[in-house]
Symmetry: C2
Subunit: 188 residues, 2 copies
């Protein structure tokens, strides 16, 4: 069986996951208005994840945090170039230049059932290859005007089904979608 691939991410109302330089100060500022103890479902989500897949940009952003946020979770950094992994993370973080499909197949063969796909470019390449099953997108009530977008070009429309929607009193709206399988090509 193929592993399930999920996205769990926050965007500005205009669809950016970070500013043009990668910074998420606007998200940290918005999170400051979130009541203590409210994690918008992140804890429940991350406990179901077997492997976190991210790109180099997201990895390098996570390295700047005060502490490595993923504890013992297995992380694969997808990068066509080498990425330096700090020694303290060598037990959990590996680097791969596989294609999304190759990576998903390899991890599924290892018994991994649920992959968390993170980072703009990584999410876009998984989406383009029809590998994303579910997306949980938390809309932050701010317009940035520019930045790194969550979504990118596609070969064809992708239909989604809304599985859940939740508005928080501090103004975030979190929508969970199933990405519908591509309709079969008509037979000739």
């Amino acid at each position: 069986m193929r592993a399930k691939c999920s996205v769990f991410i926050a965007t500005s109302l205009d669809g950016y996951i970070s500013r043009p330089d990668g910074s998420i100060d606007w998200l940290n500022e918005a999170n400051a208005s979130v009541p203590e103890g409210e994690d918008c479902g992140y804890g429940a989500f991350i406990r179901t994840v077997d492997v976190l897949v991210m790109g180099r940009n997201t990895f390098e952003l996570a390295l700047t945090f005060d502490a490595w946020p993923y504890e013992s979770l297995q992380v694969v950094v997808l990068s066509s170039h080498g990425v330096a992994v700090p020694e303290g993370l060598a037990q959990t973080v590996s680097v791969s230049s596989e294609s999304p499909a190759q990576l998903v197949a390899r991890l599924a063969a290892l018994g991994r059932k649920h992959l968390y796909v993170d980072g703009g470019k990584t999410i876009q390449s998984f989406l383009a290859d029809d590998l994303v099953d579910e997306m949980t997108i938390t809309l932050i009530p701010v317009l940035l005007g520019a930045g790194r977008p969550l979504f990118g070009p596609l070969q064809a429309d992708k239909r989604l089904s809304l599985l859940a929607s939740r508005a928080f009193e501090f103004g975030f709206v979190q929508n969970r979608y199933r990405v519908e399988a591509k309709p079969a090509e008509p037979r000739r």
Copy 2:
């Protein structure tokens, strides 16, 4: 008093209001799944509107519809070039090359209290000029990959407050935001 300016619009999940060529086939297709009689609040909204302000692209799209959709509502088409208004619409449709601020001031002086601002470029210029008070955005569960975006560049972040959020069983999510006034410049 200044007239209130509202946006009421649908976008794809990736933030487009139409395809690159302006077509909204994807929106018409999504609307086909909406139960008879459900208008997602549009009727209640449009009844509060005194003047509809749109750009030339939106006007020319509306002209392609089977019937003019705005009945007796006053419409102003903002365009720096001339726009041909069909004779049958001359009673309700006028064309103006005013700036957004000039138009809002003129209409307010005429006693117009609520303007409906429509069309990507028009909305973007009203937002850039800090003239939008409320935005109702209906998220359609489809990714297009390309198109004409609702939002554009801004001089500075814009904070919004979530006023209402509503999920429909056919998968649309409608969020209503107040656009917060720009914080005052710090005094020197």
